[in-house]
């Protein structure tokens, strides 16, 4: 650390280098932090969470009972111990609440005044954050599994919606209507994701084990379909041609730079694809447990020098190195299946929600105080530690002697 700092001071390194090193260190030190807590509002499993990109302050969560909650993550209390308050809630008592399980929530990328949620009650609602009333309701003829707003779009304001219907719907927020349909999948579309690099590029994953990449300007069809065997016909059996997985593909995520695409499937595999060519990079992540029949929301770190993937894996969150496929660690804290996780790029924190109704904050461990520091206040810290944490002391009774 000191080395990085001096190198930065002398101007040997780019600023980015220090930042990357530090954030990587922080990510590697992610731990369940007893100081950070989120208020328990959800009485049922949490399906989806989203952190707004402007301030990185508000966290949106959607529960299996239709409840949507907005948390304030910022700690202004000045104390270490902090419970994130729920700022506002669309509870069961609200007349606008989703009837069934909320599958996806997303902030409007440019403003916290609006967010979009979609649910199994076959609707997608565009909410006004101030009044907590839906400004627009889109209705579909099937369960909505997933929707996505392009994070970088300037020329359009389209929401891609994956429903039970194999056709992908494109809803325009400008007109409030469904303007376009993308055909090509043969089963329900479990996940849709806009490219963070090109605003017209859309990737979709479906239960027919295919992943297609579209350019929404082209009406005729998809750009390409991801093939796990990279077109090697001899390896693929006739029905497995152009499939990304050997099961339902329920997770989809671009890397932060949009150069790579990650998919997860119920064949317990995760694959990394080159998003420009659709080539399977053949990174082996090993077995990634995945039994979800719905969308699995996983995330990729941002701003680290080797990037990391956080994937829900049973009741824990697995952390993989993106390009080597190495399992870095398992974050164990949930008591039931984890459904979603979201990376906070500014503080290198991870938030995960699961069926045990908890949203857990995984916060980097603070660097242990250096030795020089300790010599100055040895007595104080030692005394303070015992005073603060009597529970951490061993309590051997004398009769054991």
């Amino acid at each position: 650390m000191l080395g990085f700092l001096t190198a930065r001071q002398t101007g040997l390194d780019e600023p980015l280098r220090l930042r990357r090193a530090e954030s990587t260190r922080r990510v590697l030190g992610l731990k369940l932090n007893p100081d950070r807590d989120l208020e328990r509002i959800h009485g049922n499993g949490i399906n989806t969470i989203d952190i707004e990109a402007i301030e990185g302050r508000y966290l949106l969560s959607g529960g299996a009972d239709g409840v949507i909650v907005i948390y304030d993550l910022e700690n202004y209390s000045g104390q270490q111990q902090y419970t994130c308050k729920a700022v506002c809630t669309v509870g069961r008592s609200s007349r606008y609440v989703h009837k069934f399980s909320v599958e996806t929530v997303q902030w409007y990328p440019y403003d916290t005044g609006m967010f979009v949620s979609s649910s199994f009650d076959k609707t997608m609602k565009v909410w006004d954050t101030e009044t907590l009333k839906p400004a627009e309701v889109f209705e579909f003829d099937g369960n909505v599994y997933s929707h996505h707003l392009s994070p970088i779009a300037r020329k359009h304001s389209l929401i891609a919606v994956g429903t039970k219907n194999p056709k992908i719907q494109l809803c325009d927020m400008k007109s409030g209507s469904r303007i376009h349909v993308l055909q090509g999948h043969r089963a329900e579309v479990l996940s849709v994701q806009w490219s963070p690099r090109y605003e017209h590029i859309l990737a979709t994953a479906s239960a027919d084990s295919k992943v297609k990449v579209w350019d929404v300007r082209r009406a005729s069809g998809s750009l390409f379909t991801l093939d796990q065997h990279n077109g090697d016909k001899s390896k693929a059996s006739s029905e497995a041609v152009n499939t990304a997985h050997n099961g339902r593909v329920n997770g989809l995520s671009f890397t932060g730079d949009g150069l790579f695409l990650l998919t997860t499937g119920t064949d317990d595999r995760m694959r990394l694809w080159n998003s420009a060519t659709g080539e399977n990079t053949l990174v082996n992540y090993g077995k990634v447990c995945n039994e979800s029949r719905k969308r699995l929301q996983f995330t990729v770190s941002h701003g680290c020098s080797p990037e990391f993937v956080f994937v829900p894996c049973g009741s824990s969150v697995a952390v993989y190195a993106l390009h080597t496929g190495e399992l870095v660690t398992m974050l164990r804290g949930h008591y039931n299946n984890v459904d979603c996780c979201e990376f906070h790029p500014d503080y290198q924190e991870l938030y995960s929600g699961g069926k045990d109704c908890n949203i857990l904050a995984w916060v980097p461990v603070l660097r242990a105080p250096d030795l020089e520091e300790e010599t100055t206040c040895t007595i104080k810290s030692a005394a303070g530690q015992t005073a603060v944490n009597p529970a951490f002391q061993d309590a051997w009774s004398s009769d054991e002697d």
């Binding site: 008591y335 529970a391 009769d399």
Partner: protein, 768 residues
């Protein structure tokens, strides 16, 4: 950490967890804590061993491991962090958070473990919940998601509660369905049962009318007045004299009115073996038949005994008494007419016996058989059904009305049964009667045919009356055939045994002259059976007298089969041993010289000799083999010289050791040789497998004791593999036995193949 400490810790944990006790051994846990106190490495090691023990599929092990964990949890921070890191698994293994992974058996211990774990987690939460995030999360998970009510005594999760409720609901539904079925059933059967009850009631009334009715009957029928008299014995002989003495006056009156009634009355009395005060309607009308039959018998007996007895003809006597009575009671005539009683001083004693006894006679047979049928119907069908309904109604909480109805039905059925029991119907006589009836003559059959009891009749074929000679006459029918009543074997045995003793010559001394006379008369008649028998008797007497030599025979002479040598006994055999050769049967061709007769010495000798085989006398074997068997018993085989298992039999002491020195040596030698042999082919492992498969003891334990069973390893734990000795498991053992399965499969495939062989050229079978 030293190796010895490590080993000691593992040992301690294993000892503690496999003790099977529900409380930890205090000394051992103290020692464990003492070692753990030294360093966190020790705690690491203990943590891993405890977790591995927690993973065992045995609740007793888990319980003990959990107790160790909770001991250490409260003491060591390091242990707390280790355990909380893996708290999900820990909860799964102790609190059963995952329904896919239920706690292992035994059940009671699992339950105990669960409640203990929940209580402990709660106490941990209060102590450490604020500091250890994961503990708090786990506690909230249990509380919020699993909805564990920590105040609840049973600490059930919501799922368990729901399951229980569901089970209860299902039970209720089933009960309701059953109740409906039962009520419907009752509705259907109600009339039937009522009809049965009515039938029973009327049968009862037929057999044993109400007292009020009987009084009327007594008054209306003159014959029943005599019923008050006691006749304790069931004698066949009529006792007219006693009758007369006892109730002379009534009898006189009756005789005046109807003398022929006399016989009937006496018979009636005889029928009623005990003091039957109450007359049955039945018997009143049955009298007719019985009396007639009796009369026949009486006549016969009278014929036979008339001259031997004093000849007290009841009729004569009665007539004398009539005269007397006429003289004495002229003045009482009026009174008699008015009251029906003979004198003022006359008292009528009615003996009412506490228990009724209904004896079956031929005439109430039909009623009684109906009663039996109904009784059977009630006990085996109606009553169990009604009881079942009552039970169902009570269980399902049916309406009062329904329940009351069922209960009423049950009560009346039971009352009917009780009444039947009180009647004490004597069934045995009935069976005998049927037997007798089968032996009796055809007229009896005709009588019985009138009865309803068809099933009994159908069992016996009608046999046409025999004419003439009958070699076997049963003892009790001899009189009927007019034969000598005393048993004489000669008549039956003559045609079979020639050398038997001569027939006794009319050995019966008590043969009355009258009967003799009659016999003689009958013998004159050539068509009668007696004549035939007489003829035969004369013949046998002749044959027996013609062989006087047989009588002189010594008693113990051996009986030998008849042969040629006996045929020619004491004679010269004229052509013994000569074989006559047949001349050629050909029409033209004849051999040149023919020896017509050929002497054969062999044959000659044979015809004169006799083989007498002498097998010796059989003496039973009294000694046992007594060679020691495996289980401390001695061989119980009784061979004469050599036991097929233990060789030649030698004298042995109580323990089965041979008494003689050389035998002992030989036996030891043999044993050693055998032991050496066994090692070659008897593979202990294989045998154990086979034993496990077949469930038979082949003696693998005797062969080698190398492998130690797991059961032996932890004798204190309750055995999970111990199969329940239920009827199902026993049946399973039989049915799913490998050899049985194979046998069945073989038979079935054979059947299949046979069909195939037979019909393979027919398309519709060939396809199968």
């Amino acid at each position: 950490m030293e190796l010895s400490q490590r080993e000691r810790l593992s040992e301690l944990v294993e000892d503690l967890t496999t003790s099977g006790q529900q409380e930890l051994n205090q000394d051992k846990i103290k020692e464990l804590k003492k070692i753990c106190k030294m360093s966190s490495d020790c705690i690491d090691h203990v943590y891993h061993t405890v977790m591995s023990q927690l993973n065992q599929e045995h609740s007793e092990i888990r319980l003990s491991a959990f107790q160790i964990a909770s001991e250490l949890f409260s003491r060591s921070h390091h242990f707390r962090t280790l355990l909380l890191d893996n708290f999900q698994d820990f909860l799964e293994l102790t609190v059963e958070t995952d329904s896919e992974q239920p706690l292992p058996p035994p059940k009671e211990i699992a339950k105990k473990l669960r409640s203990l774990a929940l209580r402990t987690v709660q106490s941990w939460q209060t102590c450490y919940g604020t500091e250890y995030k994961k503990l708090a999360l786990g506690y909230h998970f249990l509380k919020q998601v699993k909805k564990v009510d920590f105040q609840d005594a049973e600490s059930r999760t919501i799922a368990q509660r729901r399951m229980e409720e569901e089970r209860q609901r299902r039970m209720e539904r089933i009960l309701k369905g059953r109740m409906e079925a039962a009520s419907k059933d009752m509705e259907e059967k109600y009339q039937e049962i009522k009809a049965t009850l009515t039938e029973m009631e009327s049968c009862m009334r037929l057999l044993l009318p109400d007292f009020g009715i009987t009084n009327q009957i007594i008054n209306s029928s003159p014959s029943t007045q005599t019923a008050s008299n006691a006749y304790p014995s069931d004698d066949e002989q009529p006792r007219y004299s006693e009758d007369v003495k006892d109730d002379r006056k009534e009898r006189r009156k009756q005789q005046k009115a109807e003398t022929c009634q006399e016989d009937k009355k006496s018979c009636l009395k005889k029928n009623n073996s005990q003091d039957v005060s109450v007359k049955m309607k039945q018997e009143l009308y049955e009298e007719e038949g019985v009396c007639e039959k009796r009369k026949d018998g009486n006549e016969k007996e009278e014929e036979g005994e008339g001259k031997l007895n004093n000849g007290q003809d009841p009729l004569n006597k009665n007539s004398e008494e009539d005269k007397e009575e006429d003289n004495v009671s002229l003045h009482g005539d009026l009174f008699i007419r008015n009251s029906g009683l003979i004198s003022h001083s006359y008292s009528l004693d009615l003996n009412l016996s506490p228990g009724f006894h209904v004896k079956e006679t031929e005439d109430n047979e039909a009623v009684i058989s109906t009663v039996i049928d109904i009784h059977r119907l009630i006990t085996y069908k109606h009553l169990p059904a009604v009881q079942g309904w009552v039970q169902i109604f009570i269980k399902a909480g049916a309406e009062q009305q329904l329940l009351r109805r069922a209960l009423d039905l049950k009560k009346s059925l039971e009352a009917a049964l009780q009444k039947h029991r009180e009647l004490h119907i004597d069934y045995k006589t009935r069976v005998r009667k049927v037997m007798k009836a089968s032996l009796q003559k055809r007229e009896d059959y005709d009588d019985e045919d009138d009865d309803d009891d068809d099933e009994d009749d159908s069992d016996f074929d009608e046999v046409p009356e025999k004419e003439g000679y009958e070699p076997h006459v049963p003892e009790h029918l001899r009189a009927e055939y007019g034969l000598d009543p005393s048993p004489s074997t000669s008549a039956g045995s003559i045609p079979r045994k020639r050398s038997a003793a001569p027939p006794p010559q009319s050995s019966c001394s008590s043969f009355s002259s009258r009967q003799l006379k009659r016999l003689k008369e009958e013998e004159q008649d050539p068509t009668s059976a007696a004549a035939t028998l007489h003829l035969l008797g004369v013949q046998t007497a002749q044959t027996s007298s013609s062989g006087p030599s047989s009588e002189q025979k010594p008693v113990d002479a051996p009986v030998v089969p008849f042969g040629l040598d006996l045929y020619y006994w004491g004679q010269e055999q004229p052509n013994a041993g000569k074989v006559i050769k047949a001349t050629s049967q050909h029409q033209f061709w004849v051999p040149a010289e023919v020896d017509e007769e050929v002497e054969n010495d062999n044959l000659l000798a044979e015809s004169r000799s006799r083989y007498i085989s002498f097998p010796g006398r059989f003496t039973p074997v009294n000694h046992f083999c007594r060679a020691p068997l495996g289980e401390g018993k001695l061989c119980q085989r009784q061979d004469r010289r050599k036991c097929p298992f233990h060789g030649s039999i030698v004298p042995r002491d109580q323990d089965g050791r041979p008494c003689r020195e050389e035998d002992r040596l030989r036996e030891e030698e043999e044993k050693r040789r055998k032991a050496e042999e066994q090692l070659d082919w008897r593979d202990a492992e294989l045998m154990r497998d086979i034993e496990a498969e077949t469930g038979e003891d082949l003696g693998s334990g005797r062969v080698a004791k190398k492998g130690k069973g797991k059961k032996k390893k932890y004798p204190n734990l309750s055995d999970l593999k111990q199969s329940d000795n239920t009827s199902r498991s026993r049946l399973e053992k039989k049915v799913f036995n490998k050899s049985a399965m194979r046998r069945v499969a073989e038979v079935m495939s054979k059947a299949d193949r046979r069909k195939h062989d037979k019909f393979s050229n027919q398309f519709n079978y060939a396809l199968k």
